[in-house]
Symmetry: C2
Subunit: 285 residues, 2 copies
Amino acid sequence: MPQIKNLTVLGTGVLGSQIAYQAAFHGFAVTAYDIDDAALEKAKGRFSQLAGIYVSQKVAGAADGKAEAALDNLRLSADLGDAVAEADLVIEAVPEMMELKRDIYRRLAELAPSTTIFATNSSTLLPSDLKESTGRPDRFLAIHYANNIWVQNIAEVMGTADTDPAVFDAVVEFARNSGMEPIEIAKEKAGYVLNSLLVPFLNAAAGLVLQGISSPDMIDKTWRIATGAPTGPFQIFDVVGLTTAYNISAASPDAGSQAFAAYLKDNYIDKGKLGVSTGEGFYKY
Amino acid sequence: MPQIKNLTVLGTGVLGSQIAYQAAFHGFAVTAYDIDDAALEKAKGRFSQLAGIYVSQKVAGAADGKAEAALDNLRLSADLGDAVAEADLVIEAVPEMMELKRDIYRRLAELAPSTTIFATNSSTLLPSDLKESTGRPDRFLAIHYANNIWVQNIAEVMGTADTDPAVFDAVVEFARNSGMEPIEIAKEKAGYVLNSLLVPFLNAAAGLVLQGISSPDMIDKTWRIATGAPTGPFQIFDVVGLTTAYNISAASPDAGSQAFAAYLKDNYIDKGKLGVSTGEGFYKY
């Protein structure tokens, strides 16, 4: 099984920076790549902020110096060749645009050592959509993280039919060693496990409101009391963000989804109510 | 708004006895009806058991005499006319057979005072399916309880187009006064709110296993970690009971549901693994 010690993360947005910091926190040597110095300057700020969050949210060991030490395990680079020269694993977390991703894999294929494993964090594309561009389909798969990685510490690991099982196992092992609970997915599936559960659940909740059956707060209360969950579906919508919910609904051909997209736009998005991030969505925060 | 003081519950099975005991615990004068003395003898045992559960699970006030006092608020009767003579509200919790229910409503229509409100606890039938037999569609609706009423204390209240709004409000008020969180449902909907959320959620989880995407324990772990819920979908299946899950799946014309029914039968039901109740289902207990 390949050994993973050096990690490179491509993209230092919200999730990319969390992936890099989490691995650095657990002792991996991490290089964070982004396109220019301005992006890397932002990334530095994100890493410092994460160090503070790990301490304030009492992640084990954070207050005993690990949160600070993680910053020493992080190196920044705006040169792709330099960033991946020593990488055992490259996790790609660049924006969700097929051509952008394919282009970066084509460049990676030439720049990275032939042994380097590539993994995409894409939520919406299947690894099969990208594998040809990597030039190494046997060393390519998906590893999918959720936001707030230090709490929602799942890493969904999903290969294609071409992925070498030893590579799959190595990435599962890496996930575990970087403080994640690996979720092993045996076959390619759009939405992985989490969104395959979440989407029909949230659609059902949306349908009840659209059809005038009940209200968001009644529906949430029902779910909380009956299942003991801390949050109901509309509270989850507010955390995910109503713009994301709108984009997913609007992109679906289903009539119910289209109606829900319109409902979100008219009642929330056009009024600046985007969820927890703006202080108001279905609820006020 | 009609005042509800005297409650009669028809049927003293698992849920019927919980509905009766919960209302008695909250000070209502409750008559529990069942078909013969043998059934009523069983009901007595259930009520004593519930008194013990309310104390051991620390329902507020239970240890201070309320659990015992509830037993004094409960009267048993195997004579339908006697059972409903003083009832402000009759909650019907007899087995889920359309003709059995219609027959009992036809008898009730003659025996109960004209002011008595009738409510069905049916999970699978709509109140519209039953309203004609009641002879009083304006004073008829559904009130739907979940098992383990003292913890999962929701009461889904759902009328038909004929239900008098004042009657609806009176039943909502009764639910609140008997320690329930009323869930007001504005339009008839099969599955009410809870099952309308639960069924697509559980179906999605079942699909992931049937398609070989992932395993029940991985799927449950994903849901627990990502949403903070105490249980994942297969833990919920085990609580609901795999026989119930089988019956619902087998009754659906959908091919995926049929496949899941067969999967449950071969791997669990035929091996006596019915869920929490038998000590083993998807998990061991």
